[in-house]
Amino acid sequence: MRVLVVEDDPDMAGFLRKGLREAAYAVDVAVDGREGHQLACDHPYDAIVLDLMLPGMDGFEVLRALRGRGERTPVLCLTARDSVEDRVRGLDLGADDYLAKPFNFAELLARLRALLRRGQTVVSNPIAVADLTVDVVARTAKRGGQRLDLSPTEFALLEYLIRHEGEVLSRTMILEHVWDMKQDPLTNVLEVHVNRLRKKVEHGFDKPLIHTIRGVGYVLRDDNA
C-alpha cells in the first residue's frame, strides 16, 4: 500500500513517515500543497493523508484540484482546526475522513485501514483468532470450544477488539465505539473493563490474546500466529 502524506510541519511529517513505514506502508511526503498535488497526479496512491493548513496551495485547494480531475483516491484530512465548518467543507470537497490534531496515531492507522478496506468484503462470521471464536450474530464467544460467560458490555468490547484483530485500538476509540463516550476520563476506568474481559478470556488458558500497549491502548492478537 502506498500512501502520500502532505504535511508542512517537518516534525509531524517525520513521525507520520516513520509510523506509517513501521505499519508497513510505502510513504511519500510532500511539504506543501503544490508538491502534494504534483505527486498525487504523477503516482497512483492507495490513500492520501492531507493537512488542510498548508503554505501556498492549501489542503482545500489540493482536494478540489484532485477531485476536479476525477481522482478517486481516498483522502484523510488532518487539521489543527477542530471546527465543524472546516470539516464540512473538507467533506464537501470530497475528503473521505477527517482527523483533528492532536490525534492518536493508533486512530490515524485505524481510519486509514478503514479507508483502504472500503469496498472490500466484510469479515466472515464467526471470527476466530487462535482458539477464540466469536459469533457476532449469535452473540456468543468460545475459547477452546468452551463457552465464555460474558456480560453484554464485555461482549461488545470483545467484539470490537476481535473485529480489529491485530490493530492497536486507543482508549478513546474503544470508549467511543463501545460506550459512545467521546472523552477519555483519564481514570483507569477502561483498564478495569479490559482486565475483567481478559480474566474471562484468558483464565485457564496459556496463551494471552488481549495485549496492553502501555500509554497507547489495546490490541487483540495471536502472538504465535
Binding site: 471546527s83 460506550w179 459512545d180 463516550m181 481514570t187 500509554g215
Partner: protein
C-alpha cells in the same frame, strides 16, 4: 476638535435651538404683519365709506344736480389735499358725471356681476392699479337712488402710498429683529449646549485616558442624579463587569499556564534524567510509557480549553435530537461500575425513570459521565455512590450522591471556577482531571437550558444535581 465640526452633537444642538427660536420669531412677525396691514386697510375703508355717504348727501342737498356738486367736491378736495383723495359720481350706465380730477376719470372699477341695481345701498371695496399713480389705489363704490328716482354710483378713492410706507417700515424692523433674534439664539444655544454637554466632555476625557492597566478606574459622578449621571453610572456598571471578566480571564490564563507547566516539567525532567546516561532499551521504554499519561493529560487540557473557549464564543453547535437520558445514565453506570467495584465503592442506581430530553447525545453523556467520574475520584474514604434519575415539574433530574467527605462550605462557591481545586495538595498523587470537568459540565447543562448544582448531602457527602428541561409531552 479632531472630529468634523458639523457632525458634533453640540453643533447640532445649537443649530436646532437657533432654528426653532428664529422660526417662532418669524411666525410671530408674519402674524403681526398680516394683522397690522388688515387694520390699516380697515381704517382706510371706514374713511372712504364716510366720504361716499357724504357725496350722496351733497347730491341731495344740491337738488340732484351732479354739476352743482362739483363745486362742493372741489372745496372738499382743497381741504383734503394732503390725503390724495379722489371722487367721482357715475350714472347708472357708468357714465362719469362729475370727477375730482382727470385721473379720476380713467380708473376702472370691476363691476359687481349683477350690476349696481342689486347692490343698492351696499359699499363695495376694491384695490386697483391706476396708471397715474405709483401705488395701488383703494376704491369705495356705493350705488344709491336719489330723490328724483335715478340711480347714481358714488366712488371715493385713496392712494395706498402711506400705508405701504408704514408696512415697509414694519418689514424692515421685523427683518432686523429676526436677525438679532437669530444671532442671539445661536449664541445662547451654543452656550447652553456647551454647558449641558460639559459633563459629557468630562466623561469622554476620562474614558480616553482609561486603559487595561487601571481596571478599577471609574467615570466621575456629579451627584445630580440626572440623565448624564445615570449614563455614567450605567457605564461604570459595565466597566465593573468588564473588570470582573478581565480579572477572571487573567486568572484563567495564569492557571492554564500553570496547569500546562507541571506536566511539561515532569516530561522534560524525566527526559533529561534518562538522557544523562546511557540506558537500556527497557529503561527507555519505561520512561516513554510513563510519559504517555502526561501527554494524554496535556492533550486533554488543550481539548478542554478549546471546548470552553468555543463555548464562550458561542461557537459550539449542539445537536438537537431526542436523547434518552436513562440510557445515557445506564451506560455511564455500566462503564464506571467495574472501576467503582475495584475501589470498594458501591455504584448503585437508586431510581430510574425513562426520560427523554432534547440535546446533544455526546455532550449529555459527557455531562453525566463527568459527574460520576468526579464522585468516584473525590470520594475520599467513602464507600457508595448513588445515582438516580427522575422527572418532575418539566425537568429531568439526575442526582449523584456520595458518602465521601463532601465539599467544605468555603469551596462551594468556587467549584465551577476553571482550574479550581478543592484540595490544592492533591496535585501530586493519583490520576487527575484537567481541572475543567465541572466548568464543562456547567457549560453543557447551561447550553441545554439546564443547570448543575452541588450541595452537601444530608448526613455528609456531596450531592450533585443536574437539571435538564424535559421534552414537552
Amino acid at each position: 476638535m479632531r472630529r468634523r465640526w458639523l457632525g458634533t452633537f453640540r453643533t447640532r444642538l445649537t443649530l436646532w435651538s437657533a432654528a426653532i427660536t428664529t422660526g417662532v420669531c418669524a411666525l410671530v412677525c408674519i402674524l403681526l404683519y398680516v394683522g397690522f396691514s388688515h387694520s390699516l386697510l380697515h381704517e382706510i375703508d371706514g374713511f372712504l365709506g364716510g366720504e361716499v355717504h357724504e357725496m350722496a348727501a351733497l347730491l341731495s342737498q344740491h337738488a340732484n344736480d351732479p354739476q352743482a356738486v362739483q363745486g362742493s367736491f372741489e372745496g372738499e378736495l382743497g381741504a383734503r389735499e394732503r390725503h390724495a383723495l379722489l371722487f367721482r359720481l357715475k350714472d347708472e350706465q357708468g357714465q362719469v358725471l362729475v370727477s375730482s380730477d382727470a385721473a379720476a376719470r380713467t380708473w376702472v372699477v370691476r363691476m359687481p356681476p349683477a350690476g349696481w341695481q342689486v347692490h343698492l345701498g351696499t359699499t363695495h371695496f376694491e384695490t386697483i392699479e391706476v396708471p397715474e399713480f405709483a401705488h395701488p389705489v383703494r376704491v369705495c363704490s356705493q350705488a344709491f337712488r336719489a330723490a328724483d328716482g335715478r340711480l347714481y354710483v358714488a366712488e371715493a378713492a385713496y392712494a395706498l402710498d402711506r400705508m405701504q410706507a408704514s408696512l415697509g417700515i414694519f418689514r424692515t424692523v421685523a427683518v432686523i429683529a429676526l436677525f438679532v433674534a437669530g444671532v442671539a439664539a445661536l449664541l445662547g444655544g451654543a452656550l447652553y449646549a456647551e454647558r449641558s454637554l460639559r459633563p459629557v466632555q468630562a466623561i469622554i476625557r476620562k474614558a480616553e485616558r482609561m486603559g487595561m492597566d487601571e481596571l478599577e478606574a471609574r467615570l466621575p459622578l456629579r451627584g445630580s442624579g440626572d440623565e448624564l449621571d445615570r449614563l455614567a453610572e450605567t457605564l461604570n456598571g459595565l466597566l465593573a463587569r468588564i473588570e470582573g471578566h478581565v480579572r477572571r480571564l487573567r486568572q484563567f490564563t495564569a492557571d492554564a499556564s500553570h496547569e500546562l507547566r507541571s506536566p511539561l516539567a515532569v516530561l522534560r525532567g524525566n527526559a533529561e534524567v534518562v538522557l544523562a546516561r546511557s540506558r537500556s532499551a527497557e529503561e527507555l521504554r519505561n520512561v516513554i510509557e510513563q510519559s504517555m499519561d502526561h501527554y494524554d493529560r496535556l492533550t486533554r487540557i488543550a481539548d478542554d480549553l478549546l471546548l470552553l473557549a468555543k463555548a464562550d464564543a458561542g461557537r459550539i453547535s449542539f445537536e438537537r435530537e431526542e436523547v434518552s437520558l436513562d440510557e445515557a445514565v445506564r451506560d455511564v453506570v455500566d462503564l464506571y461500575g467495574p472501576l467503582a467495584e475495584e475501589r470498594g465503592i458501591a455504584l448503585d442506581v437508586r431510581a430510574m425513570e425513562p426520560t427523554v430530553v432534547v440535546g446533544d447525545r455526546t455532550y449529555l453523556r459527557q455531562l453525566v459521565g463527568n459527574v460520576v467520574d468526579n464522585a468516584i475520584k473525590y470520594i475520599g474514604g467513602g464507600t457508595e455512590v448513588q445515582v438516580s434519575l427522575s422527572a418532575s415539574n418539566g425537568a429531568a433530574i439526575v442526582v449523584v450522591e456520595d458518602d465521601g467527605p463532601g465539599i467544605a462550605t468555603k469551596h462551594l462557591p468556587h467549584v465551577f471556577d476553571r482550574f479550581y481545586r478543592v484540595d490544592q495538595a492533591r496535585s501530586g498523587s493519583g490520576p487527575r482531571g484537567s481541572g475543567l470537568g465541572l466548568p464543562i459540565c456547567q457549560m453543557i447543562a447551561t447550553a441545554h437550558g439546564g443547570a448543575v448544582e452541588i450541595a452537601d448531602r444530608d448526613g455528609g457527602g456531596a450531592r450533585v444535581t443536574i437539571r435538564l428541561p424535559l421534552v414537552a409531552a
